[in-house]
């Protein structure tokens, strides 16, 4: 506990005192070898603004988003705090958080935010940037699921559960998780074993290829 508090105090110092400019001080950290993410000239905050068309400083930290978030209890930090970290330049902490990955994209926060800040969209951008910067994602299964799902689309144009579940299970090596549903589905003829390939798979492949490049 104590050490954590001290760590926080130290962080505050490096962030606030030397330059008075959060973005600058983040750049200073470039020399710190422990930090796994790359630092671009553009700050993460600017990148988010560019991708989401909204200024992060809009958020006045009322917490209404977190108060109504259905997955709040499973997150390591509150959604509003992720915004706060970005506002203050603690990009590393924000990008390393579980919260964006646990966000279910339900939009409850976005429709209730008094400042009309689209937090769900903000979370999208944080995830994108974390992936691009190669941050290690702790909610690994969630990411693996998304990848498995996208692989389905990439290869077939549509997703189909059997392939998805198989692919996901290969990726996670968690073979027993869904036993209570898969056999039932199969028996009911809902778990189709062969993928439905769309005709123009070439186009889909092209879309994937062209969008996979880093910004």
């Amino acid at each position: 506990m104590t050490s954590d508090i001290l760590k926080d105090a130290k962080k505050l110092q490096t962030s606030f005192i030397p330059s008075g400019n959060f973005k600058e001080s983040f750049k200073e950290k470039e020399h710190d070898k422990n930090i796994s993410i790359q630092i671009h000239e553009r700050s993460v905050e600017d990148e988010i603004t560019e991708r989401t068309f909204q200024d992060v400083s809009l958020c006045y930290q009322c917490g209404k988003c977190s108060a109504g978030c259905p997955v709040r209890y499973y997150m390591d930090i509150a959604p509003n705090k992720v915004v706060r970290l970005i506002q203050l330049g603690y990009y590393e902490e924000a990008l390393n958080s579980d919260t964006p990955w646990l966000c279910a994209g339900c939009l409850a926060c976005s429709v209730r935010c008094p400042k009309e800040f689209d937090l769900a969209r903000f979370m999208d951008a944080v995830r994108e940037i974390a992936l691009e910067k190669g941050v290690e994602i702790k909610q690994v299964n969630i990411l693996k699921f998304h990848n498995a799902f996208l692989d389905q689309i990439k290869n077939h144009g549509r997703s189909y559960e059997a392939g998805l579940v198989a692919d996901y299970k290969m990726k996670t090596l968690d073979l027993f998780q869904d036993v209570d549903s898969a056999p039932g589905m199969f028996l009911k003829g809902k778990l189709i074993l062969l993928p439905h390939n769309i005709k123009n798979r070439k186009e889909i492949k092209r879309i994937f290829k062209k969008t996979s490049g880093k910004n």
């Binding site: 646990l102 279910a104 409850a108 951008a125 996208l150 209570d180």
Partner: protein, 292 residues
């Protein structure tokens, strides 16, 4: 006005019954539509949470195809597809940068402005009185908790068809079938569908709360309009029971299935037997009707 149909991936597999009942019911009500040729997945949650450009392109591909096919509207029965399509379309409309990027990606120009409509809008538009007129089965004992989920009405500024906090359109449809719609609290609470496979623990908790609230408010059936919601609320009940032993199986119907039942259709015809929980829905509900 030519309606386009975008079933989305789920309706071709895990939510076949939704597709089946939708086709049956619309047929009976005289609503016709054409499936979009060679449609592809809208990208779902996975695309937009990891790669926005990809997500926009996947959604817009389908809208573009529908346009080329000469359609004016797209019916997207899956709430998630509906949300992805309408949000992507909105984004392309409002941000010329994204528009250009996506147009380049798909090598087309977006010219036609198609209206994306969800299942509720479809029934509201085509006239609720048609349902009432053709009603065959007595459903007055059905006490339905209308579950919108999170993506059907949000964000209201874009979907523009119902209130985001106290929506009432599904209730109107349910009441047109002669069933009773209960007032409850979890109409728009998220069931966590995005994490259905990867974080089942979360999904089970969230879905459990939804079912409990429906029961607490006197509902005897949950009515949904989204395959993801259905999967979580129906299929996950066994796992729910494992975690919460006191849990009792609770019927979850697609809105189209409820309409089908009221129109006098057979359970099997509607695909209700494909549900994970083995209920004799019609019987249960009818019995309730008898009981009043």
């Amino acid at each position: 006005m030519r309606y386009g149909y975008f079933p989305g991936c789920s309706l071709t597999s895990s939510a076949k019954e939704y597709d089946i009942s939708l086709r049956k019911v619309t047929d009976k009500l005289g609503i016709t539509f054409e499936e979009i040729n060679d449609w592809s997945c809208c990208g779902a949650t996975s695309a937009h949470v990891t790669n926005h450009k990809l997500s926009a392109a996947l959604a817009m591909r389908n809208i573009m195809l529908a346009g080329q096919q000469g359609l004016d509207n797209i019916i997207a029965p899956c709430a998630a597809c509906y949300n992805r399509l309408i949000i992507s379309q909105n984004e392309v409309k409002n941000h010329s940068g994204i528009r250009k990027e996506t147009e380049d990606l798909l090598s087309v120009k977006f010219e036609k402005d198609l209206k994306i409509i969800n299942i509720l809008e479809l029934f509201l538009k085509s006239g609720l009185n048609k349902i009432t007129e053709k009603r065959k089965r007595e459903l007055s004992g059905v006490k339905a908790a209308c579950y919108y989920g999170c993506l059907l009405v949000r964000p209201a500024a874009i979907t523009k068809f119902d209130d985001a906090e106290q929506p009432e359109s599904m209730e109107k449809i349910v009441e047109a079938t002669g069933a009773y719609a209960v007032d409850w609290n979890y109409k728009t609470e998220c069931c966590g569908a995005a994490h259905s496979i990867s974080r089942r623990d979360i999904v089970i908790d969230l879905s459990k709360k939804i079912i409990d609230d429906a029961i607490a408010h006197g509902a005897n059936v949950l009515v949904v309009a989204c395959p993801m919601c259905h999967t979580n609320l129906d299929m996950r009940q066994r796992a729910m029971k494992r975690k919460y032993p006191e849990h009792k199986n609770f019927p979850v119907l697609y809105l189209t299935e409820l309409i089908g039942l009221s129109l006098g259709m057979d359970e099997k015809d509607l695909g209700i037997d494909l549900h994970y929980s083995n209920f004799k829905y019609a019987d249960t509900l009818m019995n309730n009707s008898a009981k009043g």
